[in-house]
């Protein structure tokens, strides 16, 4: 992903807003949480636009931190033991519509994967190549490929259970 070149903040914002929201939602954050986190990051970026060299990487990193903070602070507010166990990352209740429809399909498919596999697949869907992912996560490219293969197999099994697909 090209992260360089002089660009106005407005152009950057328009170009990357949806992608950054998508990135967080795909990781399992709620849309409201993702929006708040990306807004916070973008506001900080706007203030420091001249000094931040790789804005895309910067927003990605800080927005994720904001999202995690938000989830943590919300969890801290919850008092009941049961409610504390239900992380914001995976709300659920008895309502089948919530289970099936409130989450985007891609989020359902990625849910339940081990964090590394999900991170690798998510970055791969974002268009990063194996080399970039390996560098970002400080692992070898072979490990990246292995995480992806295992992740895809797991999703294949999930699809198989739903019926219809092998």
């Amino acid at each position: 992903m090209d992260d360089s070149g002089p660009e106005s903040f407005d152009a950057f914002f328009r170009k990357h807003l949806i992608g950054e929201l998508q990135h967080l939602v795909r990781q399992g954050f709620s849309e409201a949480c993702a929006e708040e986190a990306v807004a916070e990051s973008m506001a900080n970026l706007y203030r420091r636009w001249d000094e931040i060299e790789r804005p895309l990487a910067w927003v990605r990193r800080t927005a994720r931190c904001h999202a995690l903070d938000e989830v943590r602070s919300r969890q801290a507010q919850l008092t009941g033991g049961l409610e504390r166990d239900i992380a914001d990352l995976r709300y659920h209740d008895e309502d089948p519509v919530i289970g099936q429809e409130a989450r985007a399909r891609v989020v359902q498919l990625l849910a339940g994967l081990p964090v590394r596999r999900r991170t690798v697949i998510s970055a791969w869907l974002d268009g990063f190549d194996d080399h970039e992912i390996a560098e970002e996560l400080q692992i070898s490219e072979a490990t990246v490929r292995s995480h992806r293969r295992h992740g895809l197999r797991e999703i294949a099994a999930k699809l198989g259970q739903e019926g219809g697909r092998p």
């Binding site: 506001a43 900080n44 709300y91 519509v97 919530i98 197999r153 999703i155 699809l159």
Partner: protein, 209 residues
Amino acid sequence: MTESERLADVERVLRQADDELARDLAARTDVDGMLVRVKRRAHAAPGGERARASGIPGTVPAHGGEPGASAAQGAQEMGALLLADESSVEPGSPLLGESDPHRRSARTVPAAEALSARVLAGAGDLLRALAAPMRLAIVLELRDADRCVHELVDALGVAQPLIGQHLRILKAAGVVHGERRGREVVYRLADEHLAHIVTDAIAHLQERR
């Protein structure tokens, strides 16, 4: 089917679902409105003015525009956010829009065979969105007055995340509109019709008793 064919298949499914998510997000997000809010937030934050004293380059001329932003600079941080955001609330939410075309009495609705499959599917979606006790309770709450999430949490006595999920379903189906005011979103019913659907269902049950 070989392993690699199988995984290629999974990739196709996954990418399709991911594109769908991007489309949904793009349809639901008011990019320009958010750009304005983000800039106001940057100005309202401590040090915001110092960093960007020169003003707002290439500002988007969206609903309400700049007066809010300059007012925000003077005020205290929280107050400023409230001020700025209130002035940027659009009157008709772009999410769902027109409710007036639906205003007709039951008698003017043509027989089922005359309706397109699409209209019937839409009605089905609407009823499905209403089909949970918690969401019915939310609609009944909103009949009396517009409410923000924490008021609904208090009134209904359930956890905020749960209310949020239900509201999202109602919002997606066009039952409620949300307007951001400062750090809160105020929800209102999209039109009177929707309250009627729910109260009629309840009246119907009570009659039969």
